[in-house]
Symmetry: C2
Subunit: 221 residues, 2 copies
């Protein structure tokens, strides 16, 4: 990528988290044959203000002209680039239980642009099996595999009690990011390796808070 195209030197995490949402919406527009959209129209579709959208995309030069709206295809490709979907990054999955298998099956739609290179498990009954064309490797080879193949992302779908030990192993082996489904917080210490958590329970309880809060408010009235 040419340096003049380097976008968004430092986005806030709130903006970063909106980018995949924009990408999804732009994919919907492209599927409908819509080639150009204004910040007002896009905002209406997404429940955001036009000025919020203009601010979010202010880092993306060349995606639109004042008054003419955004070129949907160009903006979509720029966002995909910013999100690393064009870089042939690689991933491995650790944990071939039910969640792991679900992640294997949905990998190509979920981790677009990435290559799933291997799956690891500690269960001797699974090691050597081939699931969805992917051989299950022994966790004892985890570090050497990452080192040898320069793997970018490790997906952790192991039991909670194993989470930190596996996180230490992949971090030590030079992994560049961890997608964490272990329902516990893990530390990557001084390595600064980013960790993205998908904690089902945290998410559910956040929703539950709003019901309880609503009931508390009703009881007050």
């Amino acid at each position: 990528m040419k340096l003049e195209h380097v976008p968004c030197a430092a986005l806030s995490i709130h903006v970063i988290r909106r980018l995949p949402r924009y990408l999804r919406e732009l994919d919907v527009l492209l599927a409908k044959g819509i080639t150009r959209i204004s910040s007002v129209q896009l905002g209406r579709r997404m429940g955001l203000t036009a000025s919020q959208i203009r601010q979010d995309f202010s880092c993306c030069s060349g995606v639109g002209i004042q008054g003419y709206g955004y070129n949907v295809a160009v903006l979509r490709d720029r966002l995909a680039q910013i999100l690393g979907m064009d870089r042939d990054y690689s991933a491995i999955l650790i944990g071939a239980g039910k969640l792991g298998r679900l992640l294997m099956e949905s990998f190509s739609t979920v981790a677009r642009g990435y290559h799933l290179r291997a799956v690891f498990d500690a269960d001797a009954a699974l090691i050597g099996q081939v699931i969805d064309d992917m051989p299950i490797l022994s966790i004892s080879n985890l570090r050497s595999y990452i080192r040898k193949n320069g793997i970018d992302i490790a997906i952790l779908a192991v039991p909670t009690g194993e989470a930190q030990r596996i996180a230490d192993a992949v971090t030590d082996a030079g992994i560049r990011g961890i997608w964490n489904f272990t329902n516990t917080d893990i530390s990557t210490g001084e390595s600064q390796v980013p960790v993205e958590d998908v904690h089902f329970s945290d998410s559910f309880l956040t929703l539950s808070y709003f019901l309880a809060q609503d009931d508390r408010a009703s009881a007050k009235r």
Copy 2:
């Protein structure tokens, strides 16, 4: 719940999202037999500052005394209460595919305090089957079931293309919250029904952003 115990009239979403994390950490402390902890100690364990923690818990009266730290059990129960885990709320699951079945299996650990009351699907081959002691009901009975049983939360694990139609149905039937696994944004219109999304792809791409950003920064150096 007595009104004098009503906590946290209006928390920011950032604080709300930290509450389940605190709950998990307090459960770990209790399992270790730790009964009291200072904001400094808790902060060290969680990578937060002591003042952040004191501020987050400022709404929870009676959980600790200045200089003596928090009573772990009392704080844990207060948080569980704030998060609605003590209210016997009910949930239904819509979509008995692989993701749905995973959510069924993990329901009791993920949605603590909730009761899973029924599972719905549109697939005639599934309807009438009993999976994990739960009969699969026809989606055609969805609205009447919610109305009749006063269901609190609907878990959507249906295909993307079905998401909004099902969201409309459950909202119309009086559901109070939607946990959304459909990988698309849904609207609950003027009903103000809260929606909590678990978008795997959005989460993955957020992590991917940091790798790409790191590579862009390296290319610049």
